[in-house]
């Protein structure tokens, strides 16, 4: 949960970041000089750099602005370009183990749809997804959008057992699978469902997951037969297996923490009011990016010292 940081904390974090950045930068320069003299760096110094570059962004949260890759941008633009009151379904197909990676995506999608005044239908194909769905509802809907009303602006269908069987049914009829929503209110008396009979009537489906049933099932059972656009958010490890579906069967794809961070930063760019909310994707990206850059720098340094020493040897 986000609590507005007092001015003091903000400035101290800026100072902290600058100091650690400075340290790492100066250290790199020092090592560049050493490398130019063809001297290798002790592994413990490498360790120290990794330690600083990972802990600094944790202690003093800094975020890098992310430029979205086309796969992410396309999905963002779709949500953005749909007219208000479009019907979007978000399915929480993941468990707590995957949550750190994909829940930030779920939050970001929810936030975006709410800001665009879309009508959102929440559901889950995983039994464990229900509680995570409730988490997002509490953290995003209830806290940030208190004016949105259940049943009018959004509806929670919850979890139904049956895996891809559920999809097989809702592809032609929602009411057959979900006679009521999670609060036992019949779908017929829910405003959103006035014009929705099946998945065909949705404007966008977003599945967030990483296992089975998950994105692949949504594509095969719902996306392909109905031509309803499908977007997805997945854990990093499974992302490469889903790229073959993009862009024909999958509108867009968020892969891992990086995908979440890209979406979050694109969201902030369009909706400055979200500047202040917690953005776990971007927050987690800080240490990752920092460490990656340090590793990349070390690879470059290693090659410099290698070439310098080889040139000397050949002389």
């Amino acid at each position: 949960m986000f609590t507005p940081a007092p001015l003091l904390a903000l400035s101290s974090s800026t100072i902290g970041v600058s100091i650690s950045l400075g340290l790492v930068g100066l250290g790199m320069v020092w090592m560049l000089i050493r490398s130019l003299r063809a001297r290798d760096v002790d592994r413990r110094i490498v360790f120290l750099f990794i330690f600083i570059s990972v802990s600094a962004p944790i202690l003093f949260p800094i975020t890098f602005s992310e430029t979205p890759t086309p796969v992410v941008k396309k999905l963002f633009d779709k949500v953005e370009s749909l007219p208000a009151d479009s019907k979007v379904l978000i399915s929480f197909d993941f468990d707590p183990a995957m949550a750190p990676e994909v829940q930030p995506m779920a939050d970001a999608f929810t936030r975006h749809c709410m800001a665009k005044n879309h009508k959102v239908i929440f559901m889950s194909l995983w039994a464990t997804g229900q509680s995570l769905l409730n988490q997002t509802m509490r953290a995003v809907l209830v806290t940030e959008f208190p004016e949105k009303r259940d049943g009018i602006d959004y509806v929670e269908l919850g979890y139904k057992a049956g895996n891809e069987g559920v999809l097989n049914v809702i592809v032609s009829n929602f009411r057959k699978m979900f006679p009521t929503d999670v609060n036992s209110i019949p779908l017929d008396s829910i405003e959103i469902f006035d014009k929705i009979k099946s998945c065909r009537d949705l404007d966008l489906i977003i599945s967030i997951g990483g296992g089975k049933p998950g994105i692949k099932e949504w594509v095969l059972f719902v996306g392909d037969p109905t031509k309803t656009p499908i977007g997805a958010g997945v854990a990093a490890v499974v992302a490469p297996q889903l790229y073959p579906y993009y862009p024909k069967q999958l509108l867009g794809l968020l892969g891992g923490v990086k995908g979440a961070a890209e979406y979050e930063s694109e969201l902030v760019r369009h909706y400055p009011q979200f500047e202040e909310v917690d953005k776990p994707g971007l927050r987690m990206m800080g240490p990752q990016t920092f460490a990656h850059v340090v590793i990349l720098a070390f690879i470059v340094l290693g090659n410099i010292s290698f070439f310098v020493s080889r040139r000397r040897a050949s002389r």
Binding site: F51, V54, A291, I299, N303, F306
Partner: protein, 224 residues
Amino acid sequence: MKRQVALLITLFIGTLLVVSVFIPPMESLKETFTLFFDIIAVFAFFLGGGNLLRVHLTKLSKRKQDWVYSIVTLVGFTVVLVIGLFKLGNPGGIAASPTAEGSLFQTLFDNVLVPLSSTMYALLAFFVASASYRAFRAKNREATILLIAAFIILLGRTPFGMMLTSWVPNSLSILQIPNLAIWIMNSANLAGQRAIMIGIGLGVVSMSIRIILGIERTYLGEEK
């Protein structure tokens, strides 16, 4: 004779399990044998655990180097074994799961084993860095290819990959580093993985045949 029997056992069991795949009535053989293996492995614990105790007791009694730490191992081992085997401090008693919530055993797991193993695992973050510093150098053609592939993928996973190449027009978008990274993962990387896996499949088949036929018998000891 003793070795002959052992080789016959291997031949019989090996063939039986290969054949069982094609015979539905013998399908459950696989699960049964897995259970057999687990049970034998528990018996082997006596040898392993006994050896662990013996090594550290010897170290202690002979006051070998670092004998003090052997006390730590011995105490840790005995205490946890007693707690674990007798389910001490387990609210559910003997019928409860050994790892029941709130049991002493589980508390030990959460507060001793978890920090130890996850920190050991986290050391990888450091070693990944030192290994890439040392290994990714353009020493020869192979190493250069390794370096370039790693560099592109690493760059593709930071915001800088996109920043550096976002100017590339859409008709050349494969040259944008994140796209290139994905393309490499799905083409060359996939090809290499498949070639390795096909090789492994054949290697295992051939190795298993050598074992079943008794040609490979190192584990039984060489002929005297």
